[in-house]
Symmetry: C3
Subunit: 145 residues, 3 copies
Amino acid sequence: MTVSTRCHSVSSQGNGHIIDITGDVQDTVASSDLNAGVATVFVTGSTAGLTTVEYEPGLVHDLTAAFERLYPRAMEYRHHETWNDDNGHSHVRASMLGPSLAVPFVEGALTLGTWQQIILVDFDTRPRTREYIVQLIGESHGNPD
Amino acid sequence: MTVSTRCHSVSSQGNGHIIDITGDVQDTVASSDLNAGVATVFVTGSTAGLTTVEYEPGLVHDLTAAFERLYPRAMEYRHHETWNDDNGHSHVRASMLGPSLAVPFVEGALTLGTWQQIILVDFDTRPRTREYIVQLIGESHGNPD
Amino acid sequence: MTVSTRCHSVSSQGNGHIIDITGDVQDTVASSDLNAGVATVFVTGSTAGLTTVEYEPGLVHDLTAAFERLYPRAMEYRHHETWNDDNGHSHVRASMLGPSLAVPFVEGALTLGTWQQIILVDFDTRPRTREYIVQLIGESHGNPD
């Protein structure tokens, strides 16, 4: 049983940019010597979140529209009074989506569906480099169970 | 320390069908030789999600109503233009709810409340068999900590 | 590799009380002999949830307002007919937010951002003691990876 923790960086345009990180998470699994276990994906910071989606331009648009409909940018947020900031909606959206995912892998492959990708959504209001953690806990040889 | 991964199938009517999978997850824990650890539950595919609820008909109705109110079926979704499909709302709801849960177990039992059940919500628009993973990572004898 | 499971109690005023539990989760990690691994945080019961946020009074207000806007207390909930209860909105909010978080730690510290705290949100309609689990799975000496 081994723990392997890796920090990844991704370049983001912010403002709800939806980034497909499946390849990087899968590569982290494949380049480890682990056969079976769990990949914990965790985004550092309070203005981004993680989930899965069928990553295609239509749904990228639909998800973006849903976030704007439920948590409009042009509302009053008390957070703006605290820091004279403009990203209250970014924080609320990030908290609602959540910062962590736990994805099992077996035989060195994530147990995702064919049309299911892992995405990082950066709700902050400016381009920046975002960091997230991929931590693997597992074993080198699969349980015959 | 052991990893044990099991794939479960469940028959679903789709259209927001809310299925109580607590018994199957608990049975997976009980039939393993693990005493303490974490059960990662992960639903494969991009039109279903997982959470917990007090599973009773009133709340099944209330949850269903909340999904329809926030992410109406009868809206325009760009996803429909991509595939000439009708399940844009299914994808958006699934992404918002999320595909994974991490539930600790101790002494062979999930640490759920008495009125807290694990549910799979199938948002897709047709009956189908849904698959989800239950992966256990833990140890055979509890840490006396 | 070790599993260490601890149950925490926290005093809550209910009605959407947002409680910063970061210190208790971090202390649990620091007081273990584990260097690297995952902290699974899980709230017992079906009227509370977990996420992360920049914990400051402005955002505490903004999150509270978002929950009330999306899942109003003063709506009809079928759950009330089941138990003659008044907390239908509490259950729906809790299911939507979700009961579990998986937070990696390395070198004895959670991989949170500086402005990212772990919160428990108690949606129930009365003051009570809430319980949540912090379960650590990890190893005493870090993987040099």
